[in-house]
């Protein structure tokens, strides 16, 4: 076997010859060594083991470019801090987010809320609860919304996209018509439409509403990727070798279709958090005020924005920073995984 086959499982368009071997050398070498060395062509391939090899080296190649990108580090640090905050939130929050500790200084009639004071750095909210503790614990629910909405959207899109892209024919037609109909409704309208179906809006209904919107997006992306590979040489080679359809789809086509999907998923986390906030703003968010969520806090604060802008600015600031973090990470991943930048 010659040069052509060495690039087979990784789709020839993306890789230059010898990359699989280069990755192997990289793995054997110590951390950080030999990053720029060009590999020699001529590695035999086309076994499943080599598919894994190419996957590793694809990530390695991307990582090599990522780790010198400041944008990536800013995004990664923001997300790391956010996740850390969400994990340790119950231990570092000074007060119970549901307890109306400052209710004595709060008056609906006079439109007054508790000011910042010792032990309460940001003061209270309209119900006399500690705003600082609510912000800290809000990170948990917000992370849940972002991650689960993305995972559900991804799973749905994966099923539809693989059905359409792998089989083609009438499966493709049916799936894509469904996707067309879903895409014909502007995304937020679709999310609203789903959210209003729930009698008692809660975190789960919000997650479902914002995740369904993402299903057609992922489905379309995956289908496009898989269609492009159906006619490619490495799939043809696998078929010629007598590999059955399922392994071709799941071990050859799917892994090679994933990089744009990963990028999209990172960006969707940000979109989901923002969409959830929009639902809260329209009164369709979680009504469970004992477990705060940033979007919900922002929605609650909307009536008081003229008199108490801080109530809105803090949760909004948190949402913006986190959304920015995921956007930066997604964009830098896109740059790093883009075959055009591989040189």
């Amino acid at each position: 076997m010659t040069d052509g086959t060495s690039a087979l499982p990784g789709s020839g368009r993306l890789r230059r010859p010898g990359a699989a071997r280069k990755a192997r050398i990289d793995r054997l070498a110590t951390v950080g060594g030999r990053s720029g060395a060009p590999g020699a062509p001529g590695t035999p391939a086309a076994t499943d083991e080599d598919t894994a090899d190419v996957g590793v080296s694809l990530l390695r190649d991307a990582w090599r470019r990522l780790r010198v990108t400041p944008v990536f580090w800013v995004g990664a640090v923001i997300i790391a801090l956010f996740v850390l905050l969400a994990v340790v939130a119950p231990w570092i929050a000074p007060h119970d987010p549901g307890a109306q500790l400052l209710i004595g200084q709060t008056s609906r009639a006079r439109n007054s809320i508790a000011p910042p004071q010792a032990g309460y750095p940001l003061g209270g909210d309209t119900f006399g609860r500690d705003l600082f503790s609510r912000l800290i614990l809000g990170s948990r629910q917000t992370l849940l919304v972002g991650v689960f909405a993305t995972l559900i959207g991804l799973a749905g899109g994966l099923v539809l996209g693989v059905l359409a892209g792998a089989f083609g024919g009438w499966a493709d037609t049916v799936v894509m018509r469904i996707v067309d109909v879903m895409l014909s409704i502007p995304s937020l309208l679709l999310a609203i439409s789903i959210a209003v179906l729930f009698t008692n809006p809660n975190l789960t209904s919000v997650i479902i509403a914002v995740s369904v919107v993402q299903i057609p997006v992922f489905a379309r992306l995956l289908r496009g990727q898989m269609l492009a590979q159906r006619g490619s040489d490495h799939v043809l080679a696998a078929r010629a070798l007598g590999v059955r359809r399922a392994p071709i789809v799941f071990r050859h086509m799917l892994p090679n279709s994933l990089s744009p999907v990963i990028v999209q998923a990172t960006l969707v986390v940000a979109t989901s958090i923002i969409d959830a906030a929009a639902l809260s703003f329209l009164g369709l968010g979680s009504q469970d005020t004992a477990s705060p969520e940033w979007g919900q806090m922002l929605g609650e604060a909307q009536d008081r924005i003229d008199s108490h802008p801080g109530l809105a600015f803090w949760p909004a600031g948190c949402i913006i920073v986190v959304a920015l973090g995921f956007t930066l990470l997604g964009e830098s991943l896109r740059e790093a995984l883009d075959p055009k930048n591989r040189r």
Partner: protein, 336 residues
């Protein structure tokens, strides 16, 4: 070209039929329902039964859907029950349509007028301060929730500084003649300049709020597209031929870079329709988006049907126009 257009139109019809069925089933599965919404929780069963039969909600679903389709064919979507009780649903749509179109045009103008030139300049001076500032702004623009940006603009420029009006389409003390329903256009047609100017002032803040995401997207796509194109071989050829910089920029770079911009602009129309729900609510702007948020809370089924069908139709139609406009911009597509 013609065959393609016809095929796309047929596809549109299919999408709309499926959509209308889904929409119909969805409306019926909403909790509460219009009777509760109109009469309140404590109504007597008699009253409820009466209203149910008046609205035709007691018949089998298929019959209701059949009647619904028949009415739709005649342009009769029933009467509004919540947004403007008693008015026809299509009338509510017609009343508010011009407002949202004005807002959407304002937002798109903002996005295009700033997005394309800035994106172009950023790409020409890659790494310069304009490039960096533009990239940061566009990243922030996507990260800020639309309604929060709307609040912020309203809070700063309307409440604190008082430069622009905080809400509505036109000041109530202006006695403007209505011709088309498009307030800015009306003022121009009737030569009531102050009415036009007042309407424009009411449009500025909502347009910026609504146009920020399209701006961010258009800026980035213009920038990356110009970056791609200016490294192409044909640009080097043009330079080698000794063409002036101006010709190269306008005829070679910009024209080729605009194709992805057109696609993305078309896709933004859907985002505009959705964003209008949030922006119009913040600015109490009496357009379709505001009607939609009222219709949701008051369970105004007929109005909801019209609004969702209309926004879906607009979205699909615009995307079709975008596809067709490729042929105009890019002769290579025309021949294939």
């Amino acid at each position: 070209m013609l065959r393609y257009t016809v095929r796309r139109l047929l596809q549109l019809v299919l999408v709309l039929v499926v959509l209308s069925l889904l929409l119909f089933l969805w409306l019926r599965s909403l909790p509460g329902g219009p009777v509760t919404a109109m009469l309140g929780d404590r109504s007597t069963p008699d009253k409820r039964a009466e209203l149910t039969s008046v609205l035709g909600l007691d018949q089998p679903l298929m019959v209701q859907y059949g009647k619904f389709l028949g009415r739709v064919a005649h342009g009769n979507f029933g009467q509004s029950t919540g947004v403007a009780p008693g008015d026809s649903a299509i009338g509510v749509f017609a009343d508010r349509f011009p407002a949202t179109v004005e807002l959407a045009i304002g937002a798109l103008l903002f996005a295009l007028v700033f997005g394309i030139p800035l994106g172009y300049l950023a790409a020409r001076r890659r790494g310069g301060w304009l490039d960096n500032a533009g990239v940061v702004t566009s990243l922030l623009g996507v990260a800020v929730p639309v309604f929060f940006l709307a609040f912020l603009l309203k809070y700063i420029f309307a409440v604190k500084l008082g430069w622009l009006p905080p809400s509505g389409r036109q000041s109530p003390d202006i006695d403007a003649t209505r011709v088309t329903g498009f307030f800015v256009l009306d003022g121009l047609l009737t030569r009531e300049w102050d009415a036009s100017w007042d309407a424009v002032k009411h449009l500025i803040l909502p347009s910026i709020a609504l146009g920020t995401i399209p701006f961010a997207v258009i800026f980035r796509i213009t920038r990356s597209s110009v970056l791609d194109v200016q490294n192409e071989d044909f640009i080097r050829t043009a330079e080698a031929k000794g063409l002036t910089n101006r010709t190269i920029r306008s005829r070679h770079i910009l024209r080729n870079a605009l194709l992805p911009v057109v696609t993305v602009t078309g896709l933004q129309v859907g985002a505009l329709l959705a964003g209008a729900v949030l922006t119009e609510k913040v600015f109490a702007f009496p357009g379709l988006g505001e009607a939609l948020s009222i219709a949701f809370t008051k369970k105004d089924y007929p109005v909801l049907q019209v609004l969702i069908l209309a926004s879906a139709t607009t979205f699909v139609l615009v995307n079709m126009l975008v596809d067709l406009s490729y042929a105009v911009i890019d002769p290579r597509i025309r021949t294939s």
